[in-house]
Amino acid sequence: MTSGIDLQGTFIQSLENFGIPAGAAKAVWMPLPMVIMLVASTVGVLVSVWLERKISAAAQQRIGPEYAGPAGVLQPLADGLKLVFKEDVVPAKSDPLLFTLGPVMAIIPVFLSYMLIPFGQNLVITDVNMGIFLWIALSSVVPIGLLMSGYSSNNKYSLLGGLRAAAQSLAYEIPLALAVMAIVLMSNSMSTIDIVNQQTGYGILGWNVIRQPVGFVIFWIAALAECERTPFDLPEAEEELVAGYLTEYAGMKFALFYLGSYVNLVLSALLVTVLYLGGWESPVSVDWLAGLAGVALDTPWLQVVLAALGITMVLFKCFVMVFTAILIRWTVPRVRIDQLLNFGWKFLLPVALVNLLVTAGLKLALPFAFGG
């Protein structure tokens, strides 16, 4: 599978032909995929903000943004520009250092997690061996940033919001990790590439969502709770806490939180795609079709088509999940804090444990279907 077009190799080779030493050529290459990923994730946020506005409008029988660009597509850009030009207020009795560090701490782990998302067999920043486990570890750092901003704002609503965020993310991290663990059991690896590869070959029938329906639902619920979206947006519940830990924030610091929450949503949708919906694999296996047509897999044009199709597939599945998340947000009412914690600890956790146990049992009993 590694033969065919090798962008990195070609790029480094061409730089070396200009007389640049090998190490320097590699150092020139390395930031390129990272910058592309940063830009792509930010554009993904713009798209999902526009989707959010349009779908919420449709859910409430409004039109939504209309004048900024065709069908209002430039509205999120206008929102962002507005936030850039707003005054950056730091409350008088707050703790300025922690107040500034809070949003930064909350957003860095989310952007860092994008390095694990594969858009194709070799279209990934790094194929880390710890893959999905690293993502769980990184996402567990986010509540520190929220606690930091909640504490430093010197506002009781902020502090309550920060505490709620930490409690919520602690409670939902465990079912999330257990659901992921069932997948890891089946694919014998934590690398995101291996997890997708284990689902390829049978088209839609090979996807993990068929073998792990319970895990899929648990993961998506827990991921929505980690993103703090309605029905789980208690940390920023307007009616109770003004805006939770966001209360005192304005300008770019608020924009960082806003960006972070949408980046996290898109990231969760991408991870659902990778873990349960077969990643870059299309519903009908393209490899199989190519075999029928008699085209070798390392033909250059086929590789370009496959890469484009893979990226399209990943983004399509990802935005289907984003769409369901937005639809859930605008149709389901918010839960209470005790309902939230009871649901997490007393329902999701046992169900996730049973799911893990059943997966382990099935792996022993039916090794051909459950990756024995």
């Binding site: 190490g23 320097a24 590699k26 150092a27 922690l98 880390v128 061996n129 710890m130 486990f133 690293l134 769980i136 570890a137 990184l138 567990s140 750092v141 509540p143 520190i144 606690l147 930091m148 909640g150 504490y151 502090l159 920060g162 505490l163 930490a166 409690a167 602690l170 991290e173 934590m190």
Partner: protein
């Protein structure tokens, strides 16, 4: 020295510097919240050092457990009880601080001498890298089975203890100090232990 070695060397220096500075901050800063946040910095830089030692699973587990769970819980506890009051000035703090400094310096010197004088048997086997998770798992279920199980029993005991503490009923109206020191009183209704009393 090629590029990778240079990057590793520089990042090791940075990580060690961060770890020392943040660890000193945890101990020396007056504000307990700052200490708690800096503790997270210590854990993260130790995780980075594990990464440089090719122990990626240990590094990730360190971030997940120590930063994501332990440090968040410490912060949680501090923020729930912290009423932002400056600590009352206690007489003789200087003597105490000096004594603490001497004891800590002694321990540091002792450990440092131990590290320098011990002839470490450095393994020549290459680091297991990608297979480390499987190796750790095999060890857990063979020669390290007893510590593994004992740790799980310990965690279970902690869980039961936490639930017992959380189930206490706090009744403010029956709170009457009866001449005892108020600070040492817990305003709660006395409660039978589970399964005791009532024949």
């Amino acid at each position: 020295m090629n590029l990778a070695e240079g990057v590793q060397f520089v990042s090791m220096g940075l990580l060690i510097a961060t770890m020392l500075v943040t660890a000193l901050g945890v101990v020396l800063l007056e504000n307990i919240v700052y200490s708690a946040f800096l503790l997270g910095g210590v854990f993260v830089s130790i995780a980075g050092l594990y990464l440089l030692l090719n122990a990626d699973f240990v590094a990730t587990a360190q971030v997940l457990i120590y930063v994501g769970a332990v440090n968040v819980l410490i912060l949680f506890a501090i923020m729930l009880v912290n009423n932002n009051r400056a600590f009352a000035v206690v007489e003789g703090t200087k003597v105490r601080n000096a004594a603490t400094a001497i004891v800590c310096g002694g321990i540091f010197a002792l450990l440092g001498t131990m590290v320098v004088t011990t002839p470490w048997a450095i393994s020549s086997v290459p680091a297991s890298g990608n297979a480390s998770v499987m190796k750790i798992g095999l060890h857990f279920f063979s020669d390290f089975l007893l510590p593994f199980e004992v740790a799980s029993v310990l965690l279970l005991m902690a869980l039961v203890g936490a639930i017992v503490i959380a189930r206490r009923e706090f009744i403010p109206e029956i709170f009457s100090p009866k001449g005892e020191d108020e600070a040492l009183m817990l305003p709660e209704r006395p409660r039978d232990l589970v399964g005791s009393g009532k024949d």
